[in-house]
Amino acid sequence: MSEMSTLLYGLVLLAGAVGLAAGLTWFERRLLGIWQDRYGPNRLGPLGALQVLADMLKLLTKDDWVPPFADRVVFVFAPTAIVIAMLLGFAVVPMSPDMHLLDVNIGLLFFLGMTSLAVYSVLLGGLASNNKYALLGGLRSAAQMISYEVFMGLSLMGVVMLSGSFSLQAIVRAQEDMWFCVHQFLGLYVFLIAGIAESHRLPFDLPEAEHELTAGFHTEYGGMKFAMFMLGEYLGLILISCMMTTLFFGGWLGPGFLPPLVWFVLKTGLIILFFILLRAAIPRPRYDQLMSLGWKVMLPLTLVNLAATGAIALWMEG
């Protein structure tokens, strides 16, 4: 792609990601409505799709309030961090052979770095609020997200070993014979769990856990700053789905009767659907249970996966 078209692609990507995340709030509510025997938003526009616009207008005109008892600078910075980090994460996602903003040889590390940054957003939001529910939510998020950070990185190492690169385009091309979801099923499993934990959505929404901590880390947030946490959460959901497609389901690869971009979008869409289904179906484990699962199951699994992948790959290589 020429520089100009890449530049254009970047702006389209930005609008697309934000628009999709906003649209996803409506889509998810409709979908949950279907699964839960009810309507969901259906008043505004066709199938209620304009609900997104109404929500946005409402959030824009809400009190732009910074609590006087909070750490004000951090309080405002926290929600912006998650949005920025998640949006930057999209820069390395290859959507077709030549559609990517940045094809660097550390693409995967860049993605991991951005998700790590998002952790700070939730943690700082919780701690800066100077509210007890927010504090508990912040503590939970710190413990949960830094734990799953470890497994998320490790679960991807099998993929890196087999493709020999951190470049996401290279990883996609390495799956031409067979998608990594086949021989890296353990990695996929750990990445899936860690992905939900990192995007802190139900069933692993412990930092928020409305039944326990009212609204957890964003108890004191309202209006646009609250909306940015939500935007970040949905962006995270999309980003994790994109990465899962790229790393385990062959990215844009697919039979030639459809263009690569369509394949990519289809696969990602299905994974998003799966995440929403998980949210509808599964209860929330207790915080210590989630941590035990991480350290006692996920970590050993990733280590076993590494050892087995290494041994088998070397043996087949001769």
Partner: protein, 136 residues
């Protein structure tokens, strides 16, 4: 990498910052202002808060932080090996396995010393209660 290749990303980055700034700015411009009696109190289910929310924390949280440091450092080494996996061959594999086994031992040690059981709480005053029957 040539610097021009980075240009689209820099523009993208600027656009992201602009977007976030616009969102905050617009809501600051359009947002209503309100000053009720309880507006500037922290939310605690509708009752005035007792004691501070800035308290000393339970040691469990520091443990997790330490684990994170240990195992995240480990991943850095594994990253380096994974990228050069085929070049390093069996020798590299053996070396990293020693490394992983050592960490595995550390994990087992933590596990056995109870450092991973931070939530196994039981209700006080249940001594002498019959054991729990299995659910079918």
């Amino acid at each position: 990498m040539r610097s021009t290749e980075l240009l689209p990303f820099v523009v993208y980055f600027a656009a992201v910052i602009l977007l976030v700034a616009t969102m905050l700015g617009l809501s600051w411009l359009l947002g209503q202002r309100r000053a009720n009696k309880a507006t500037n109190m922290p939310f605690e289910s509708g009752v005035i808060s007792v004691g501070s929310s800035q308290i000393q924390l339970s040691v469990e949280f520091y443990l997790i932080a330490i684990f994170f440091v240990i195992f995240d450092l480990e991943t850095v080494f594994i990253f380096a090996w994974a990228i050069a996996f085929f070049e390093l061959g069996w020798a590299g594999y053996a070396a990293i396995m020693v490394f992983i086994v050592v960490l595995g031992v550390a994990l087992i040690y933590e596990w056995r010393s109870g450092a991973l059981d931070w939530g196994q709480k039981t209700r006080r005053g249940l001594e002498g209660a019959p054991p729990i029957e299995e659910t079918p």
